[in-house]
């Protein structure tokens, strides 16, 4: 998985180098972005209490990095890698979410830009195995804690808006799951802060 992404990335970088041999590296790769924020999964679709309340915001720390690659004066393409830090899902179960992303960004002015892009949402659920006695409504029964590592991979359509002040950015980034299948269409989002390290012109 990771390898195929790296392959794809290297492939694109290599063909870029070939195609733009007269440009310097830094003219294309404008900067490196470092991101930190909080990720909320599936707005309005996750019940959080006994009374039907659903999750609108969750504090799930996310870190990531990216690079802006200039296409034209107003357009850029932005490969990005984000990681929602491991979340414990009870005893012995851990969830890990990695996003392999690419955005096309349009710069509206010096201080804001819009993004449209796509992600591979690599979502791993890993259990340590074991079992426990739990209430079954009529006494208790033995239930089992998952013992394997399994991964779901979704392809999402992503829309984002970002405000930029000098080297810093603040972004509202959404990810639409199952765009073409309305019954399963769900939206996650990240609120994130970014620092852009300029690679120079």
């Amino acid at each position: 998985m990771i390898i195929s992404f790296l392959f794809a990335f290297l492939f694109s970088a290599a063909s870029h180098a070939e195609a733009t041999s007269t440009d310097s590296f830094s003219q294309r790769f404008k900067n490196l972005g470092f991101h930190a924020g909080s990720h909320t999964e599936f707005i309005g679709r996750v019940q959080t209490d006994e009374n039907g309340g659903t999750e609108k915001f969750a504090f799930n720390p996310l870190i990531g990095f990216s690079t802006d690659v200039k296409m034209t004066d107003d357009w850029m393409i932005i490969p990005e890698l984000n990681w929602v830090l491991p979340r414990e899902a009870g005893e012995g179960v851990t969830q890990n979410l990695i996003m392999l992303r690419t955005d096309f960004a349009w710069r509206g002015s010096d201080w804001w830009r819009l993004r449209v892009g796509t992600s591979l949402m690599v979502n791993n659920i890993k259990g340590e195995g074991g079992s426990k006695e739990l209430n079954n409504g009529n006494g208790t029964s033995r239930f089992y804690i998952p013992a394997e590592s399994r991964t779901s991979v979704n392809n999402t359509l992503d829309l984002g808006a970002e405000a930029i002040l000098e080297d810093f950015g603040i972004r509202f980034q959404t990810y639409i799951y199952s765009v073409l299948k309305s019954e399963r269409r769900e939206i996650s989002y990240t609120l994130m802060f970014s620092y852009y390290y300029d690679l120079g012109e």
Binding site: F9, S15, N136
Partner: protein, 264 residues
């Protein structure tokens, strides 16, 4: 490193989903049928026509809504059970003895009424139960959900609660155990208002039935359904399943780079 990893774990959530068997068995097919089981004689207290009408709501409002799960529960038609009051010992489990008693057809989940006192001892407060799944290897072959017909407690529920009870039992039928969190549908009792699955339920169904590269939800399970064998556990990561989409993404990048060269 181990220490660092533990440190990063957020201790804020105490939820946990469980499985109803130790081997993590699940249905092999992406589509599983949920049918009303028709007994030779009518139920005393349960209206199976009503149950039939609630089945699709129970599936579509819960298990069929999860974007990270490939499982699709189809509600269609009914299946004759041939017996009114069967219990676990009478199930035709794979490889086991079978006394001509009901077994769900392969890839089916049956929902029906039952008044066998082995299942529902006198005065039982249970609303419904799911018999142990018919498992072969690491595949669930079929499952039977029984609604308590020894008293009128199921019938007295609101239709929303009936939907939640059916959806909970089908959760067992697809391989899930109970959660300790009352936010979860797989909590052992019906909560005042059930609108959605909880995080636990979602993790559980995703663990058992993970989507692998569903291109924008279009149903393009690239090379996964055919290669997904029973009990392969999906391994750690997507393997070759995600190669082409990522390579495609790279190709797109490459094309864009080439184009920009001409423009500048």
């Amino acid at each position: 490193m181990k220490f660092l990893f533990s440190f990063l774990l957020l201790p804020t959530l105490a939820q946990a989903f469980t499985l109803n068997n130790s081997i993590g068995a699940r249905f092999k097919e992406k589509e599983v049928n949920v049918r009303v089981g028709m007994n030779p004689t009518p139920c005393d207290n349960v209206d199976l026509d009503e149950v039939s009408g609630l089945l699709s709501e129970a599936m579509d409002n819960f298990w069929n809504k999860v974007s990270t799960s490939r499982l699709e529960l189809k509600t269609s038609g009914s299946e004759n059970t041939g017996d009114d009051n069967y219990w676990t010992g009478e199930l035709c489990l794979s490889g086991g003895a079978c006394g001509g008693t009901p077994i769900p057809a392969p890839n089916d989940i049956i929902v029906t009424c039952n008044k066998n006192t082995t299942n529902f001892p006198g005065g039982s407060s249970l609303l419904a139960l799911t018999l142990p799944n018919d498992i072969s290897g690491k595949d669930i072959k079929g499952a039977v959900v029984l609604i308590n017909d020894t008293n009128g407690s199921f019938g007295a529920l609101s239709s929303k609660d009936k939907v939640a009870v059916i959806a909970h039992e089908v959760g067992h039928a697809i391989g899930l155990g109970h959660s300790e969190e009352s936010s979860a549908l797989m909590f052992y009792k019906v909560v005042p208002t059930r609108t959605n699955l909880g995080r636990d339920d979602r993790l559980g169904v995703t663990y058992l039935y993970p989507v692998q590269v569903d291109l924008f939800g279009a149903g393009c399970f690239l090379g996964t359904i055919s290669t997904l064998k029973s009990g392969d556990g999906d391994g750690d990561g997507g393997g070759t399943n995600t190669f082409w989409p990522t390579a495609l993404m790279g190709l797109l990048l490459a094309l864009v780079f080439k184009r920009t060269k001409k423009e500048t």
